[in-house]
């Protein structure tokens, strides 16, 4: 935060499902962002009703309606689906609106706030990867900052009830986008992502496990320290993010896709949601929307500093 004029920057949310609705609650609390529009496609959606109840202009006529508004937002949060965002991204860019994409469309630069946000403040489209990416890429990046990660693998388990139709229809995009981010943002040589849905009732908290293949001679104390520091950093904006167990190192012979490894570093994480829209079990939503909010606020600061606010 700078001490300068904190005049909030105008933003919109596209998509009124679970993610859009959860993000709306967070944006409404922000003093850096002003929510000027919410758009969806379903006139009956709960998200649109909530937006109107907050006095926010809202429409079910999608991007067309938003782009026809007399005053456009500077930032649009996209919370629809990969296919919808792939189609809408060029139109947002042409309109000069910075896109913060919460779908796994992977159109823009993949960003994890605690790792590489400041490298991408001038890119027209920022991709928030996936909830699993937001939970696990920081850990891989932390390990890679002190060791050679030839292969990183993550398993994300989420409560069935917190996986909306978008996630369900996009499950391949979800795993592929997450795996790519382990490499591109996390710094691993090879990556794999697995997602599991668990229907238990009461619903389980979001769990993420990170496995990293480390070569002989890696400084394991440095790896543990880097992971713990990173968990502290992420939990600054996702308070429910925590290490479930101490960092584990298992010795063995592992034929990983990145080559043979002698040590498997295992990091067990749990994410309790803030309970903004869905209950606290939906840590997957919370980490995604909290990370997107962080990006939006940082973009707002950056736009304000460069005088580019609308």
């Amino acid at each position: 935060m700078t001490g300068r004029d904190p005049r909030p920057v105008r933003c919109a949310i596209i998509g009124t499902g679970n993610i859009g609705s959860d993000l709306m609650e967070k944006v409404l609390r922000s003093d850096r962002l002003e929510l000027c529009a919410v758009v969806g496609i379903d006139p009956e959606s709960d998200g649109l009703a909530r937006a109107r109840a907050h006095g926010i202009p809202a429409s079910h006529e999608g991007l067309d309606w938003l782009l026809a508004r007399p005053e456009l937002p500077a930032i649009a949060f996209e919370a629809t689906s990969a296919a919808v965002h792939a189609a809408g991204a060029p139109r947002l860019e042409d309109a000069g609106i910075a896109a913060v994409d919460l779908t796994p469309a992977a159109v823009g630069a993949p960003v994890v706030p605690s790792v590489n946000l400041d490298d991408h403040l001038d890119t027209p489209n920022i991709n928030m990867i996936t909830c699993a990416g937001q939970a696990t890429v920081p850990i891989v990046a932390a390990i890679a900052s002190v060791a050679d990660v030839r292969y990183a693998e993550i398993v994300a388990t989420i409560a069935s009830r917190s996986a909306g139709p978008g996630t369900r229809a996009n499950i391949d995009e979800f795993t592929e986008t997450t795996a790519q981010a382990l490499i591109d943002v996390g710094g691993a040589t090879m990556g794999k992502a697995i997602i599991v849905l668990n229907p238990a009732d009461p619903p389980i908290l979001m769990r993420d496990t990170v496995y990293a293949a480390l070569p002989d001679g890696s400084d394991l104390d440095a790896v543990s320290d880097a992971i713990e520091r990173q968990v502290d950093e992420v939990s600054q904006f996702v308070p429910g993010y925590r290490l479930k167990q101490e960092v584990l190192f298992v010795e063995g012979t592992f034929d990983t896709p990145g080559g043979p490894a002698e040590t498997c570093c295992t990091v067990l994480l749990e994410v309790t949601g803030a309970g903004d829209y869905l209950p606290t079990y939906a840590g997957n939503l919370d980490i995604m929307t909290a990370a997107a909010l962080r990006v939006g606020e940082r973009l707002a600061e950056h736009l304000a500093a460069s005088g580019a606010t609308r």
């Binding site: 369900r168 229809a169 697995i194 849905l197 479930k244 896709p257």
Partner: protein, 340 residues
Amino acid sequence: MTRICFTDSCLRDGSHTVRHRFTAEQVRTIAAGLDAGGVSVIEVSHGDGLGGSSFNYGFSAVPERDLIAAAVDSAPDATIAALLLPGIGTVRDLHVASELGVGMVRIATHCTEADIAAQHIHVGRDLGLEVVGFLMMSHMVHPGPLADQAVLMESYGAQTVYVVDSAGALVPDTVRQRVLALREALEPGTHVGFHAHDNLGAAVANTLAAIDEGATCVDGSLGGLGAGAGNLATEAFAAVAERSGIETGLDVLSLTSSAEATLELLGVRPGRTRDSLLLGYAGVYSSFLLHTDRVARRFGLDPADVLIELGHRRVVGGQEDMIVDVAAELAAARIGAESG
């Protein structure tokens, strides 16, 4: 009575038994034996399906595409099938399998999550493959909701839907209720299948009960190789079916020799143990057995305690990372109790 379409899963479910160390040569020998024994479908994949090679489930010694190619090559008559779990494998893996000559794909989800399979079932059909929907851990839901999920899979294009007893937790009555519910809910042209694990020693009885209620597709595994206490032994089923007047096309004597040769070739003897019985009793995914044994030893715990706790937490297939988590917690609690 309709002829049963029999699928042998020893080169997929049996992959768990050998910790995913199958070689192409072993696959050739086993697939040739199954083909000669009259098996209609031979499933070949990592135990957790295409793309299953991982820290979480165990790395394959040989890339599964090489194993699939070896099977296609060695089984002139049988259809080669591959398993895919959405969330682990992707549509990309389906394309690769199809190019290798796979004729059937089985798309598996937890028994309440059929809708994550829509994409993969559609692509399987578009590739001209026979597509089977595989509802895992079927013991965890009542027959009605299970049938609803089967109807979803059918609506995406699945030509067969299986009741999959991944935990080996079902008994003949509970199998009957589920197979009957699917049979009544699905179109007459859609097949119902049943996949057994022998954790409670009920694989043969369960499979006969399923057939009695209208299942026309059943799974087994040569030598009973498979997760937990293993699957229905193919050669045992062949013999029981023949004595029961169930037409399968399986050759009992050929398969008994192949089974014996396979167990010798691999140096394993699957069978029921205390812990595999507990899998069935606690309702835990069968492939957790060997992972739990390894992890429990590392933490100085009794695997039985870990398995029972996993059952309490209603962990589902794919959550192998929970084994370490639960073991670490139990170990910490024990230390706490000793020092307190």
